[in-house]
C-alpha cells in the first residue's frame, strides 16, 4: 500500500535514496509554501525548505515513530525559519528592534514591486492578501497559516508551535478577526463544500 511518511523516514534512516526522493516530492510544495509565509522571500523560503529536508535526513535515525511526521517536519522547518529570521535580524543595523512582521513586510512589498503585471487586478488582490497576512503578529500569522493552508488540527498546531490549545485557539480567532476587514472584498462568491 502507499507508504506513510513515517515508513519513508524509517527507510531513509537506512540510506534509502528512493524513499527520500519520495518524501521530498510529497513535501516540497508544503515546505516552500510554509517557509515563504514565514520569511516572505522565495529564495529564502527555498533555502529554508532545503535546509529542513537536510536536517530531516540527518536525524532520520533518531526520529520517534510515535510522533507524526507532519508535526515533526513543521517543527523542524519552523526552527529553520526562526533561525534565519534571528540571523537576519542580527545582520541588519536596526538589530533587536526589528519585528518579524516588518521584515517580512519589506520583503513582501519588495516582491510585489518586482512583479511585472502589477496593475492586473488579480495580482493586486494577491499582493493585498499577502500584505495583510504579513501584517499579522508572528504567532497569529503562524497559527492562521498552519490552520488555513496546511490544514493542521489545533492539537497539531499546538505541538508544532510549542503552545497550548487555549493559546492556539485564541491566536487563530484573533488572527481571523484581524484579517476579516482587510480581506472582506477578496472572498470568492461561491460556496465551498
Amino acid at each position: 500500500m502507499t507508504e506513510t511518511d513515517e515508513q519513508l523516514v524509517r527507510r531513509i534512516a537506512l540510506g534509502d535514496r528512493a524513499a527520500f526522493r519520495t518524501l521530498l516530492e510529497r513535501w516540497e510544495g508544503a515546505a516552500k509554501r510554509y517557509a515563504y509565509r514565514f520569511l516572505g522571500d522565495y529564495h529564502a523560503a527555498e533555502d529554508a525548505a532545503q535546509e529542513a529536508f537536510v536536517r530531516v535526513y540527518r536525524s532520520a535515525a533518531r526520529y520517534e515513530p510515535t510522533a507524526k511526521y507532519s508535526t515533526y517536519f513543521y517543527t523542524v522547518l519552523g526552527n529553520v525559519c526562526r533561525d534565519r529570521l534571528r540571523a537576519e535580524r542580527r545582520r541588519t543595523a536596526r538589530g533587536e528592534t526589528i519585528e518579524d512582521a516588518t521584515t517580512i513586510d519589506a520583503h513582501v512589498a519588495g516582491d510585489a514591486a518586482l512583479e511585472p503585471d502589477r496593475h492586473v487586478e488579480a495580482d493586486e488582490s494577491r499582493a493585498a492578501v499577502r500584505v495583510a497576512v504579513a501584517s499579522l503578529p508572528e504567532k497569529l500569522r503562524e497559527a492562521v497559516s498552519l490552520r488555513e493552508f496546511e490544514g493542521l488540527a489545533y492539537t497539531e498546531i499546538a505541538e508544532v508551535m510549542g503552545a497550548n490549545l487555549g493559546e492556539v485557539k485564541t491566536w487563530i480567532h484573533r488572527g481571523r478577526k484581524a484579517l476579516a476587514p482587510k480581506l472582506r472584498r477578496f472572498a470568492p462568491q461561491e460556496e465551498t463544500p
Binding site: M1, T2, T4, D5, R10, L14, G15, R17, A18, R21, L24, E25, R26, E28, G29, A30, K32, R33, Y36, Y42, E46, A49, Q50, E51, V54, Y57, R58, A60, A61, R62, K68, Y69, S70, S125, R126, A128, V129, V133, V144, R147, E148, F149, G151, L152, A153, Y154, E156, K169, I172, H173, R176, K177, L179, A180, L183, R184, F186, A187, T192, P193
Partner: protein, 606 residues
C-alpha cells in the same frame, strides 16, 4: 454583539474548525440557530479562509521542481539525484530469510537477533521472548482445557493458537531478519568502498551511512521491544479481563463462531447469475448497537478529515455512546483522492484514529475540501479480496489496487464519470441493475436469525459474509450484497456459466474457516482484527471482533478470478473486459435461470 453573544464570541473560530467538544459545539449550534449577528460573524470568519486560499500565492510558485530535489541531495554530499539506480531490491532475500526463520521455529528469529546484539545496549529479546511464550502458552492450555468446543481441534493440538510472533508480525516490524541476515553487507560498507561503485555510498562522509545504519538497528530494536511488550500487555489484559470464555483469544473466538454457523433450512434457486444462501448461528447471538458509516456521517457524529500529511483521520463524536462500524471496502469520497477502507474498523465514542485506507481514485489537484462526506458504496468483493490478501502478507501495492480499480471501472464504470471507485455508485444504470439483484436477495435474507450469507456466482463459490448478530447484519446486508453483485456483474457470461455449487461445498468452507490458521494483526481502531487462511492459502478471510464478540467477518473461498487474481499472479495492466455495462432492463418473465436447481425439491422463494 449583544450580551447573550459574549460567551460564544471566542468559540466561533473553533466551531468553524470543528475543534469544539460535543457539548460546546451543541451550545454554539443552539446559539447560532437563534442569532443572526453571530451567523454573520461566522460567515465573515469563514470568508477569511476562503480569501486566503483563493488569493494565496500561485500554487505553481511553490510547485515541486527537479532542481529542488537535486539541490537537497547536493547539500547532503551525494551526487545529483537525477540518477535512476534504485537501492537493491531487498525484498526477495529478506522474505527467504523470514521463511527460513519460520521453518526453524519462530523463536529462532529472536534468538538470532539477541545473539547479534551488542552487549549491554540491546533489549533482552531472549527474556522477552520467553516471557511472551509463557503467557501465550498459559492462554492456550487454559483455552484447550477449558471450553474445548471453542478451540478448533487442529489449532489446539499444534499449540499455535493466537500466535504472538508470526511471519506477518516479523515482516510488519521490519528488518530484524534483514539486519541479522546480512551482516556481511553491513560490514562491507566503508568509506571509499561500495558494491557496484554507487556514488551514493562513496562519499567523504560515508561514515554517515554506517552510523545511520547503526543508529537504525538500535532504533528498530527499540521498536521491536516496544511491540513485544505491547503484545505481552495485550495478552495479559485479556487474561485479566474476563471469565473463562473471555480468556479465549479473540481470533479463536472467530474460528469458533464460524464453526457454529450453518445454512438455514430454506432452499432457494439462483437468481440469474448469483446464488445466495442465508446463514444462521445457533444459539442466536445477542444484538449489538452500532452505527454504520453513512448514518454516522448523516447524524454528524462521525467526522472524517484528511490532514496535511495525507492521513485520513476519523473521529466519533456520538453523545449516545454508540460505536461506529466502518467496513472493509467502504469507499470514502473527498480529500485529495477518494479512499477505500482496507479493513473493518470499530470506533468507540470519543475516539479519533487514523484510518487504514488505500487510494480509490486518481489524485486531485490540491483542494481545500478536506472532509469526507459521503459513502454509499462498498467496493466490489474482488477488490476487497485483493486488499485482504495484502493484510495476510501478500505483496499488494497501491499500484496493484489501482489496476484492479481500473479493471472494475473499465467494465462497470460510466464513461463520463471520474476515475474513482465512487463512479460505480454514480453510475445510475449500473445501480439500477444492482438493485434488481439486491431486492431479490433481500427477501431471502430478511428473516429472523439470519446473520450472514454465502454467495456463488455461476459454478464458483465466492465466499461468506457473516456478522456477529442479526441486527448488525441487517444494517450491513444491503452493502454487502451490492459488493458481491457488483463483482458478479463484472464477470463475462462464459465465466459465470455452470451449475450452482451444492450446499455441502458451502458447509465445507465454513468448517475450513473454523480450522484455518489465525493471526491478529495490529488494529487501527477499537476491537481486534483477525485474519486467517487455510494451510494451502487458497481459502482466506478477515474479521473484526469486539472483545470475544464477533462483529463482522468475510470468508473468501479462493482468489476471485478477474481483477484480483490477475493482479496477484503478476499480470498487470488493464484487463480488457466485455463491453461496459449499460444494461437494458431484463424482462423478468423471459429470462431463464442459467444455473440448475439448487437441490432436489427446491423451493423458489423470491
Amino acid at each position: 454583539m449583544n450580551q447573550g453573544c459574549a460567551p460564544f464570541e471566542h468559540e466561533l473560530s473553533a466551531w468553524i474548525d470543528g475543534e469544539l467538544d460535543p457539548s460546546a459545539r451543541a451550545a454554539v449550534d443552539a446559539h447560532l440557530h437563534a442569532c443572526e449577528r453571530c451567523r454573520a460573524e461566522v460567515r465573515e470568519l469563514r470568508n477569511v479562509g476562503r480569501a486566503l486560499r483563493r488569493w494565496d500565492v500561485h500554487e505553481t510558485q511553490h510547485a515541486p521542481t527537479p532542481g529542488f530535489r537535486n539541490r537537497v541531495v547536493a547539500r547532503l554530499g551525494g551526487l545529483d539525484a537525477g540518477g535512476t539506480v534504485e537501492p537493491p531490491d531487498t525484498r526477495t532475500w529478506r522474505r527467504a530469510a523470514v521463511f527460513a526463520a519460520a521453518a526453524a521455529g519462530v523463536v529462532g528469529a529472536f534468538v538470532w537477533a539477541s545473539s547479534h546484539a551488542a552487549p549491554g545496549t540491546a533489549p533482552d529479546f531472549a527474556a522477552l521472548d520467553a516471557r511472551l511464550r509463557d503467557v501465550e502458552h498459559a492462554t492456550v492450555s487454559r483455552a484447550s482445557s477449558g471450553a474445548a468446543t471453542d478451540v478448533p481441534p487442529g489449532v489446539g493440538a499444534s499449540g499455535h493458537a493466537a500466535p504472538a510472533v508470526t511471519l506477518e508480525s516479523i515482516e510488519r516490524i521490519g528488518a530484524v531478519p534483514a539486519i541479522v541476515g546480512e551482516p556481511t553487507a553491513r560490514e562491507s560498507i566503508a568509506p571509499q568502498e561500495a558494491p557496484g561503485g554507487d556514488p551514493w555510498e562513496v562519499r567523504a562522509d560515508g561514515m554517515l551511512l554506517r552510523d545511520a545504519i547503526g543508529d537504525y538497528e538500535q532504533f528498530l530494536k527499540e521498536r521491536l521491544r516496544l511491540t513485544l511488550e505491547e503484545r505481552i500487555a495485550r495478552v495479559e489484559r485479556r487474561e485479566a479481563g474476563g471469565g473463562s470464555t473471555a480468556a479465549a483469544p479473540a481470533p479463536t473466538a472467530l474460528a469458533g463462531y464460524l464453526s457454529q454457523a450453518d445454512l438455514s433450512a430454506t432452499r432457494f434457486a439462483a437468481f440469474e447469475r448469483v446464488q445466495v444462501w442465508p446463514i444462521e448461528v445457533q444459539p442466536a447471538p445477542k444484538s449489538a448497537r452500532t452505527l454504520l458509516l453513512e448514518q454516522a456521517i448523516d447524524e454528524h457524529v462521525l467526522e472524517i478529515v484528511e490532514n496535511a500529511g495525507g492521513a485520513v483521520v476519523a473521529e466519533n463524536t456520538d453523545l449516545k455512546g454508540r460505536p461506529v462500524l466502518l467496513v472493509a471496502g467502504d469507499v470514502l469520497r473527498g480529500g485529495r483522492r477518494d479512499r477505500m477502507l482496507r479493513e473493518d474498523v470499530l470506533l468507540a465514542p470519543g475516539r479519533r484514529v487514523s484510518l487504514p485506507v488505500v487510494g480509490a481514485s486518481a489524485a486531485r489537484e490540491r483542494t481545500s475540501y478536506r472532509n469526507f462526506t459521503r459513502s454509499r458504496l462498498v467496493a466490489p468483493v474482488d477488490l476487497r479480496a485483493l486488499v485482504a490478501m495484502g493484510a495476510l502478507g501478500s505483496d499488494v501495492s497501491q499500484h496493484d489496487v489501482d489496476d484492479a480499480i481500473n479493471a472494475s471501472l473499465t467494465v462497470l464504470g460510466s464513461p463520463f464519470g471520474e476515475r474513482s471507485l465512487e463512479n460505480l455508485w454514480t453510475n445510475a444504470e449500473l445501480q439500477r441493475e444492482v438493485s434488481r439483484y439486491a431486492d431479490a436477495f433481500k427477501k431471502r435474507l430478511d428473516r429472523p436469525g439470519v446473520v450472514g450469507f454465502a454467495v456463488a456466482i455461476g459454478s464458483n463459490l465466492v465466499g461468506v459474509e457473516i456478522c456477529g448478530d442479526a441486527d448488525t447484519f441487517k444494517s450491513l446486508r444491503d452493502r454487502l450484497i451490492r459488493s458481491h453483485v457488483l463483482y458478479a456483474l463484472s464477470r463475462p457470461d462464459d465465466a459465470v456459466a455452470g451449475v450452482t455449487p451444492p450446499e455441502s461445498e458451502v458447509r465445507a468452507l465454513l468448517i475450513a474457516a473454523g480450522k484455518a490458521i489465525y493471526d491478529e494483526p495490529p488494529t487501527a481502531g477499537d476491537g481486534t482484527l483477525a485474519v486467517f487462511r487455510s494451510i494451502d492459502g487458497r481459502m482466506f478471510g478477515c474479521g473484526l471482533l469486539d472483545g470475544p464478540r464477533v462483529v463482522h467477518a468475510t470468508v473468501f473461498a479462493g482468489v476471485p478470478a478477474g481483477g484480483a487474481a490477475d493482479v496477484a499472479s503478476g499480470r498487470r495492466g488493464l484487463r480488457r473486459g466485455p463491453e461496459p455495462i449499460h444494461p437494458a432492463p431484463r424482462d423478468p418473465g423471459s429470462a431463464p435461470d442459467r444455473s440448475g436447481p439448487a437441490s432436489p425439491g427446491g423451493v423458489d422463494v423470491r
